[in-house]
């Protein structure tokens, strides 16, 4: 059976690519610290030596649209083109291309349906920055096949927070039952407090630093029970109108498991949002060859 070698959760800030590659006067003052944090975070995936990446994210009205909106969708393609004209325009993101793993996609679809998740699928899915940003930050060589899993955190009505946790738990079970000798990393990206297109956007910090502090603690300690007790679809508007992306973090808490403390926890307070990075090693922290961690 397949082995889950890392569970990784992070934000997916689309400006990282531009900030980290900028030089001279164009390089923002926070870029070097951001790069250092990302490189330390990247090392947590590298150490796990994955063969395939299962990637949870959310389409931002690129391919998925209000005329036919899935709640949860699994990419079932051999290859994926990635990033869109308006992401090049706004964030300077490059066009990208990734290989898929149709065997793992098919396993998720069949078993997800049998476990009570009516998953949509796509045989031609062009993915966007919710998946490409973690490739850029965590695996910039872009050399591993992926299976994208898209969630709707964007177009009401949304699934309840509990459903995201349940899907995360199911994804973990399904990957562990995949008849393969592959080493799988499960990577998901979401948001902490975030406001886009509203009056509280682009302030010096995220719109709700207190929510961010609590959310980082919930994730770092795997406190699913407390998170579900404090978070509802209705309450998630209060920390910012785009904060429903936090439910993708909750999905990843489901993957990691109740009470599982993250092995790597870091954050960076940027203008308008707090970046946050977490890695769990389900089978223990990998030890570098011939020495201490």
């Amino acid at each position: 059976m397949a082995e889950i070698v890392a569970v990784v959760a992070s934000t997916h800030h689309p400006f990282y690519y531009r900030a980290s590659t900028a030089t001279g006067e164009d390089r923002p003052p926070f870029a070097d610290e951001w790069v250092r944090k990302i490189e330390a975070f990247r090392a947590t995936l590298t150490a796990a030596r994955p063969d395939v990446l299962l990637m949870v994210g959310s389409d931002h009205f690129h391919q998925l649209w209000l005329d036919n909106m899935p709640q949860f969708l699994v990419g079932h393609a051999e290859q994926y083109d990635a990033n869109w004209y308006n992401e090049e325009r706004e964030f300077g993101l490059p066009r990208m291309h990734m290989l898929g793993d149709r065997d793992l996609s098919g396993h998720l679809l069949r078993n997800g349906l049998d476990m009570g998740f009516d998953l949509a699928f796509s045989n031609e899915l062009r993915i966007d920055h919710s998946v490409t940003c973690p490739i850029i930050t965590l695996r910039p060589q872009n050399d591993l096949p992926i299976v994208p899993v898209y969630t709707n955190i964007f177009a009401p009505p949304l699934p309840q927070p509990k459903r995201f946790v349940q899907l995360g738990q199911a994804i973990r079970e399904m990957v562990e039952s995949w008849p393969s000798d592959k080493r799988v990393a499960i990577i998901g990206t979401g948001h902490l407090s975030l406001e886009l297109g509203g009056p509280r956007q682009f302030g010096p910090h995220g719109p709700d630093p207190e929510f961010d502090r609590k959310a980082v603690e919930w994730i770092a300690t795997g406190d699913i029970e407390k998170t579900l007790a404090e978070v509802t679809l209705e309450s998630l508007h209060a920390p910012g109108n785009a904060t429903h992306g936090f439910m993708d973090f909750m999905l990843m808490m489901g993957v990691a498991g109740e009470g599982q403390k993250a092995d790597h926890v870091d954050s960076l307070d940027l203008f308008h949002t707090m970046e946050a990075y977490f890695t769990w090693y389900p089978n223990g922290v990998p030890q570098p060859a011939g020495g201490a961690a």
């Binding site: 004209y85 325009r89 009401p156 297109g197 009056p199 209060a238």
Partner: protein, 120 residues
């Protein structure tokens, strides 16, 4: 109630570089043409298969014709679509980084929770 159509307009313009420029330069003409020719086009089908019933309300049409993004926010347009398209059109007019985004926030400062419902 045609929030869906407002969002469809923002979505269709935002993904087309020529339409972004056309809407910036001629909002009245672009909205008129789009409602007449494009609003009922089913995006996933060939051109002859069309809906028959989609139209803007007067308030929606006026907000789109005047680039009035605070009004669009009040009408429940999806804020991600609105922000993304208006950044594409007007960020270039501001010298400082995030100048447009901060002006956008200032112009919506009279809104407080609960925000208008964005469900379609």
């Amino acid at each position: 109630m045609s929030k869906y159509l407002v969002n469809k307009f923002l979505f269709c313009v935002d993904r087309d570089p020529e339409l972004v420029e056309r809407y910036r330069e001629d909002p009245v003409g672009t909205v008129g043409w789009w409602e007449q020719e494009e609003a009922n086009r089913i995006l996933a089908c060939h051109g002859d298969e069309r809906s028959t019933w989609l139209a803007f309300t007067d308030a929606e049409r006026e907000a789109l014709r005047t680039h009035d993004y605070p009004a669009l926010f009040g009408l429940g347009a999806h804020p991600f679509l609105t922000l993304t398209l208006f950044i594409a059109m007007f960020e270039r007019d501001h010298a400082e980084p995030l100048g447009f985004q901060l002006e956008y926030a200032r112009r919506l400062a009279h809104y407080s929770m609960p925000y208008p419902d964005i469900a379609t």
